[in-house]
Symmetry: C2
Subunit: 359 residues, 2 copies
């Protein structure tokens, strides 16, 4: 098992959740409760990431993780971006903002890799692709453990070949961006099927993520062979998360989720809203160009508390998210998972899953 995973008191990892909910306070609370907290480097400047690392380290001395987005090529179809900007003109007017510049960027890839090495971040995870062998080797040499997010067996094999220490196995249930290495072909495999498929293909430790919201969910992925469960949406209603009020309100409803690339140009799962319904068909697959284009619009809608026009990232099990302090949630999930596993492992006849006292 990965060295950091084997030191955890509880096999529970907090998903990074870039662009909002993830905070140093949340990461530290998870670490202090015996899980593994994460910071999200995506969308932030290297200086901001450096400040957040310092802030987290003020709050906990335990190991933690930092997630980086792997950059892709610039959009090949600038005309499509122009057309999408045209289609969003009335939205911009409605929310009283100018659309952003649909520019490409690499999210400060080199600087963030250097920062992770320099800061000897205990776990550095990657989404949207796999760093190359040299980049992974340099991180490991600096004392970082390297995790790569995968959504299919091919991606898992590529990450293993490149030298990853562990794989974050992301099922289609997951909230937020699909971690698929090719945004144009996002995998749609359910977590439990994917864990079995990837587990049959590699001996690397697996961190399971996607739709895990309860102790029973944690127990399930451990039984399926994962070394730990990673939960994002489940932490979004904790007081430590920076989830916006309108987003919290939407999560108290029961609307369906769907995968959309209308907000950022890359497929991501959120609670369905008007913007997704009206613009999905005309949005190009161009990340981060579309992200940069729609950012002012989404910020304005969020500030107004208007859940119709910003991204309400949430996994399929979001109705089960609890409004509890993050540390309490970690301990509760771990207790419930242990109980569920003990119960399921009891000889048949000695158990009845529905009648017992396990929560």
């Amino acid at each position: 098992m990965g060295s950091v995973l084997s030191t955890l008191e509880h096999p529970i990892v907090q998903a990074p959740m870039g662009g909002g909910p993830g905070t140093p306070a949340l990461g530290a609370a998870v670490c202090e409760a015996g899980g593994l907290g994460f910071l999200a480097a995506g969308y932030r400047t290297p200086d901001d990431v450096r400040s957040e690392l310092a802030e987290l380290r003020q709050l906990t001395e335990r190991p933690f993780g930092l997630n980086l987005f792997v950059p892709g090529p610039p959009a090949s179809d600038r005309d499509a971006l122009g057309r999408y900007a045209g289609a969003l003109a009335s939205e911009a007017e409605r929310y009283g903002v100018e659309l952003g510049e649909p520019r490409h960027d690499d999210d400060h890839w080199g600087a963030k890799l250097a920062l992770a090495r320099e800061e000897r971040v205990p776990v550095v995870s990657f989404t949207f692709g796999c760093p190359d062998r040299a980049e992974i080797a340099a991180l490991r040499e600096a004392g970082c453990e390297v995790w790569v997010t995968v959504t299919g067996v091919d991606e898992a094999m590529a990450a293993a070949d490149a030298g990853a220490d562990a794989l974050v196995v992301q099922g289609v249930e997951a909230g937020g961006h699909r971690g698929s290495h090719d945004a144009a072909a996002p995998a749609d495999v359910g977590l439990l099927a994917l864990l079995q498929l990837v587990g049959a293909s590699t001996d690397l430790p697996l961190v399971a993520t996607g739709g895990i919201a309860t102790g029973r969910g944690v127990a399930a992925v451990l039984a399926a062979g994962a070394a730990a469960a990673q939960l994002g949406t489940a932490f979004m209603l904790t007081p430590e998360a920076a989830t916006s009020p309108a987003h919290r309100d939407a999560m108290r409803g029961r609307g369906p989720t769907a995968v959309t690339h209308a907000f950022t140009g890359r497929p991501a799962r959120g609670i369905e809203n008007r913007f997704m319904r009206e613009h999905e068909h005309e949005a190009p697959l161009a990340y981060p160009e579309v992200h940069n284009l729609t950012a002012p619009l989404r910020a304005a809608a969020r500030e107004r508390g208007d859940a119709d026009a910003f991204h309400l990232w949430a996994g399929q099990a979001y109705p089960l998210a609890l409004e509890l302090p993050a540390g309490e949630l970690v301990r509760r999930l771990a207790d419930e998972a242990r109980g569920a596993l003990r119960q399921a492992a009891a000889p048949r006849g000695a158990q009845d899953p529905k009648d017992s006292q396990v929560p």
Copy 2:
């Protein structure tokens, strides 16, 4: 727990698999090995179902199940059916057949319900909808246990209200038809998320299905609170299954699966092939009209061993299906599941999921 579920030696149920793979030999082998075998009433005449029940009962005295399709309304858009028939004309020519009559039927609903009662079938399960309270009550009075397939919380609540004894919880990973009660809005929730959501909404015993192919997969759904795991695709390469040679060959490949309504007019998951790619966009949602329309075409392609033009139903974990006798498979899955649960339930530190000897 449902009375039949509590009598099983192993918490393993064979999915019915109408239209081919399911056979009395397969059902009986699963029952004799300590699981619960199933027959599929769908697409068959009541007389054929009666013969299969007799055949199964010759082979085993243990409890078993029979699955019925709940009929829906006739297609409202006959023109769309006409257009689809036109679009398939060249396929018909290619395979040297006449297309079938796109007629509606209720799959002998009343006669099959009567047969199930008369034969006192131990478990009668339903797909595509929920029987009404009176139909369920009549079955229970006759000594049948009633299971209803659900793909979302609303369907689970409706089935519980109608008096179901247990719920078959079908994740998006599942092969074959989506069991969603509204074919026009098939749920896309992953099994693990769905088990947690449904488990939080009802105390009925849950039978988990969708993408379960290994003992670890069985262990996972038990840990998630299911009373049993139901596997279909995992049994399709057994010698007892009537899976066609071309279908078996396709399952030895690694092609992706997708959900399609091009073959039957109702969403179903299969290994992607030419027919799906070429006709998905023009197929109406009209079941069983489209099923009846394409049936001769699919039969001809299957007989020729041409996997391009018939339905290759398979769940997302199909690459893990084993070519073993069904009884051996049941025992192996159960052993592996027990091992996985024991291991996951062991105190942390005393275990390492990736290094142990559990298969």
